[in-house]
C-alpha cells in the first residue's frame, strides 16, 4: 500500500480533489487501506476516465485496486477479471481467439470495476444494451468488510444497485462477464454524410438496427439549415471472407501508439475556437456522401482518441465538461434545441456524438434508456453555467436524464427527477452502508447517499 494526500481530478480536469490516494495491489491490501478510512469515507478509482467527480473523494480516501489480473475461457467466451483489469489488456488477449468485449466505451483505458460502476455503454447499445447486461456475477467488498457474490438470482437487488451504482455500494473486487464471438479483428463500416439534423436522424432510425454498431458525429459549429449536419458510422465485425478479400488495411487490434499532449498545451480560447471551426469543417468535408464495406481496424473504429494521449489537455487548464444526456425518442426537438444552443453560443466545441439508445436494463441508476443520447464537449467558460442550466431544464422536462459518469455540474434536484428509482437505490445502499463508508465528491454534490426518509 502506498499514497498520501494528492490532488486528483476526473478526465474533464474540472473540480480537482485533495484526497488520500491509496493503491491496493491485493484484497488484503485493500482491507488494510480501509482500516484507516475516516468519516469522509472512501471511493474506488480505476483509470480516472470518468469525466466529473465520480472517482474522487475530497478530504477522504480514494482507493485504486491495482490487481489487473483476469482469466479467459476461450471455449465459452467468458472472462473473470479483477476490478482493476483493463479493457485494453483484455481485448489484446481475447481478440486473437475470436472474441470481443460485449460493450466498449470510447476508450479502452477503463477498468472492469469502473465499467460496472458506471454501467458503460457503447455504439451497440441500440442492439445489445449496456455492459451490465453481460455481467454474470460481481464480487463486492461491503462496508462491513464482508465479501458477497452477487448475481441475478442471489442478492438480486444489490447486484443491480451495484451496476451503475458509481462505486457507492462497495468496492467491486472482480466480475465475470460474457464475451461476443467475432470472426475477424476488423470492422466493416458504412459511412453516410448528412447535411442537416432531420435527414441524419431519419437515416439513423431507418438503418441502425441493421448494424451492431451505430453512431453519428454531429458538427456543433454548423448553424441555420446546416444545424446538426454530421456523419453516421455504422459498423459490424467483418466476416473472415471480407477480411481475406482485402489485404491493404492494417488489422492491428492492439492499443494504438499514442502521441502525447503535454501539460502546458491548452491554447488561447480564440485559437481553440478557430481550430474547432476548421476541424469541424474538415471532418465533415472529408466524409464521403456514402461509402459501404470499408474495412477498418478495431482501434480506429472504436477508440480513435486513444491515439492521442491526454487529449483532455487540449481544452486548457480550466478543463471541460462532457455533457451527455438522453431524451425520449419522440423528443428529438430537445436534441435540436441543445445543438442550436451550443452552436449559437460558439464555444470551442469539437466532439459531439449522437446515438439512439435501445432498451434500458434493471439497474436502478443505469443511464441508458430508450431515446436519443447526445454528448457534447464544452470547455469551461464563464458563460457555461447558464448554458448548462438551460440545457438541463430542456432535458429534464422532456423526461430525460444525465450520465453520472460524465456529470460535473448538475445538482441534487436534477438527478432526483432524472432517476426516479433513486429512492429505491438509496434504500438498498443504506442497508449495506448505514454509516456512509462509501462517499465521493459526486455523491456529496448530488446528495446520492442521503439516508432514505423512512429509514431515519
Amino acid at each position: 500500500m502506498s499514497g498520501g494526500l494528492l490532488k486528483i481530478s476526473g478526465w474533464g480536469q474540472t473540480s480537482p480533489a485533495r484526497t488520500f490516494l491509496r493503491d491496493a495491489h491485493s484484497v488484503e491490501e485493500l482491507h488494510d487501506a480501509l482500516t484507516s478510512v475516516g468519516h469522509r469515507g472512501a471511493i474506488a478509482r480505476g483509470l480516472g476516465r470518468s469525466y466529473g467527480d465520480a472517482a474522487q473523494n475530497s478530504g477522504g480516501s480514494t482507493i485504486r485496486f491495482t490487481d489487473r489480473s483476469f482469466s479467459f475461457d476461450a471455449d465459452c467466451g467468458v472472462v473473470t477479471a479483477s476490478a482493476g483489469a483493463t479493457f485494453d489488456d483484455i481485448m489484446t488477449q481475447i481478440i486473437p481467439h475470436g472474441w470481443f468485449v460485449p460493450v466498449t466505451a470510447g476508450t479502452r483505458q477503463i477498468t472492469v470495476g469502473g465499467a460496472i460502476a458506471a454501467d458503460v455503454h457503447g455504439k451497440n447499445h441500440h442492439r445489445d444494451g449496456s455492459f451490465g447486461s453481460f455481467v454474470q456475477s460481481i464480487s463486492l467488498l461491503l462496508a462491513s468488510g464482508d465479501v458477497v457474490e452477487l448475481d441475478r438470482s442471489s442478492h438480486h437487488d444489490l447486484f443491480f444497485a451495484t451496476i451503475g451504482g458509481m462505486g457507492l455500494t462497495g468496492i467491486i473486487l472482480s466480475a465475470t462477464f460474457d464475451l461476443l464471438q467475432v470472426s475477424s479483428a476488423m470492422m466493416s463500416v458504412r459511412t453516410e454524410r448528412h447535411g442537416d439534423l432531420d435527414t441524419l436522424m431519419e437515416s439513423m432510425l431507418r438503418n441502425d438496427s441493421a448494424f451492431r454498431y451505430s453512431v453519428a458525429w454531429v458538427d456543433g459549429t454548423a448553424t441555420g439549415k446546416h444545424l446538426g449536419r454530421g456523419v453516421i458510422t455504422h459498423g459490424d465485425h467483418a466476416s473472415s471472407d471480407e477480411v481475406r478479400s482485402n489485404h491493404k488495411r492494417s488489422s492491428d487490434y492492439r492499443s494504438p501508439t499514442t502521441i502525447g499532449i503535454p501539460r502546458f498545451v491548452g491554447a488561447a480560447r480564440s485559437v481553440r475556437r478557430s481550430t474547432s471551426l476548421l476541424f469541424s469543417e474538415l471532418w465533415y468535408r472529408k466524409a464521403p456522401k456514402l461509402r459501404e464495406g470499408q474495412l477498418v481496424s478495431i482501434p480506429s473504429f472504436f477508440h480513435p482518441l486513444d491515439g492521442v494521449g491526454h487529449w483532455n489537455r487540449l481544452y486548457g487548464k480550466s478543463g471541460f465538461v462532457q455533457h451527455q444526456c438522453v431524451v425520449p425518442l419522440d423528443r428529438d426537438d430537445v436534441i435540436r434545441s441543445i445543438l442550436h444552443r451550443v452552436s449559437s453560443d460558439r464555444p470551442a466545441n469539437v466532439i459531439n456524438v449522437l446515438k439512439r439508445f435501445g432498451e434500458g436494463n434493471d439497474a436502478h441508476l443505469s443511464f441508458p434508456q430508450p431515446g436519443w443520447t447526445l454528448t457534447v464537449d464544452l470547455p469551461v467558460t464563464s458563460q457555461l453555467p447558464t448554458m448548462l442550466v438551460d440545457i438541463d431544464e430542456m432535458v429534464l422536462s422532456a423526461g430525460g436524464r444525465h450520465y453520472l459518469a460524465k456529470d460535473a455540474t448538475t445538482g441534487s434536484h436534477s438527478i432526483r427527477s432524472g432517476y426516479p428509482r433513486l429512492d429505491e437505490w438509496q434504500h438498498i445502499r443504506h442497508r449495506v452502508d448505514p454509516d456512509q463508508r462509501w462517499q465521493s465528491d459526486l455523491s456529496r454534490r448530488l446528495n446520492l447517499c442521503a439516508t432514505p426518509k423512512d429509514s431515519e
Partner: protein, 251 residues
C-alpha cells in the same frame, strides 16, 4: 460541493443582514446553489432577506449573537453533521460604533472588539477545521482599510479590524495546500446603512463594487482585495508616513 464549473452549492453568511455581506453572497448564488445559511441577530430581518432568494434554494435563517463566542462554531458544526460540504463562508458581521461612545463606556469598547475580532476568529477557527477536513472551501473575511494603519479617531474599530486582518492573513499562510482559501477584503468608506449620515471619505465605494471586486478576487485566488484598488497605493504611502504626520490625520 463545488460544481465542475466552479459554482457553489452551499454558502453561509455571518452577519446575515449585512449589506456588503449580502451583496457578496449574491454574486456567488447561481443555478447550482442549493443551500444558504444566514446567521444573524435579527431573524425577522433575516427572514425578509431569505424570502428574496429563488424558492428552489433552501435558506436557513439562524439566530446568532456575535458576542456569544460559541455560537458561530456551533453553526459551522451543523455542516459536518449532515455530510454535505460547505463551499463558502462569508464573515461580515461587524460594529462600527462612535469613538466617543466607546470612550464613555469601556465595556462597549471591549464588546466591539469581541464582535469585530474575537467572534470572527472563533468562527474562522471552526470553519477552517471543517473545511480542512473536507479538503476544500473558500472563506471571505470582511476587513477594512481602517485596520491597515489605525487612526486615533477610529481606534477601537480600526484596531479590531487590524487584529482580524492579521489573523486571517496568517491563517491563510497556514492553509497553504489544504484546498482552503481565504480572501481578505479591505474596503474603504462604503456607502450604506452602517455609514448612514457620515461624511464620506475620499475614494468612497458601495456594496455592489465591493461585491464584484471580492468575487473576482476569489475567482482569481487573490488573498487580499482593496476596494477601490487605488486604496492599496494610498495606504502604501500612509503606512510609511512618520507618526508625527499620521497622528494629525482625521477623516
Amino acid at each position: 460541493m463545488k460544481s465542475g464549473t466552479g459554482e457553489l452549492q452551499t454558502i453561509a453568511l455571518f452577519g446575515g443582514t449585512s449589506e456588503i455581506g449580502l451583496a457578496i453572497l449574491r454574486t456567488f448564488v447561481g443555478p447550482s446553489t442549493e443551500r444558504i445559511v444566514l446567521a444573524c441577530r435579527d431573524t425577522v430581518s433575516g427572514q425578509t432577506v431569505a424570502d428574496t432568494f429563488d424558492e428552489r434554494i433552501t435558506v436557513d435563517v439562524i439566530e446568532w449573537e456575535a458576542r456569544d463566542l460559541a455560537a458561530g462554531p456551533n453553526i459551522i458544526s451543523m455542516f459536518g453533521d449532515d455530510n454535505r460540504d460547505i463551499d463558502l463562508v462569508i464573515i461580515a458581521a461587524a460594529t462600527l460604533g462612535e469613538q466617543s461612545a466607546f470612550d464613555a463606556d469601556p465595556v462597549l469598547a471591549g464588546e466591539a472588539v469581541v464582535i469585530n475580532t474575537a467572534s470572527p476568529i472563533a468562527t474562522l477557527s471552526a470553519t477552517t477545521s471543517q473545511m480542512t477536513a473536507q479538503g476544500h472551501g473558500n472563506i471571505i473575511v470582511l476587513s477594512s482599510v481602517a485596520g491597515v494603519r489605525v487612526r486615533s479617531d477610529n481606534r477601537v474599530y480600526g484596531a479590531s479590524k487590524s487584529g482580524l486582518d492579521s489573523y486571517a492573513l496568517a491563517l491563510a499562510n497556514e492553509l497553504d495546500d489544504t484546498g482552503v482559501e481565504i480572501t481578505v477584503v479591505r474596503p474603504g468608506f462604503v456607502h450604506g446603512r452602517m455609514t448612514d449620515g457620515m461624511k464620506p471619505a475620499p475614494f468612497a465605494t458601495d456594496p455592489a463594487a465591493v461585491a464584484l471586486a471580492t468575487h473576482n478576487a476569489v475567482a482569481a485566488g487573490r488573498r487580499v482585495v482593496w476596494v477601490p484598488r487605488v486604496l492599496q497605493l494610498v495606504f502604501a504611502v500612509f503606512r510609511i508616513l512618520p507618526n508625527s504626520i499620521w497622528r494629525r490625520i482625521r477623516r
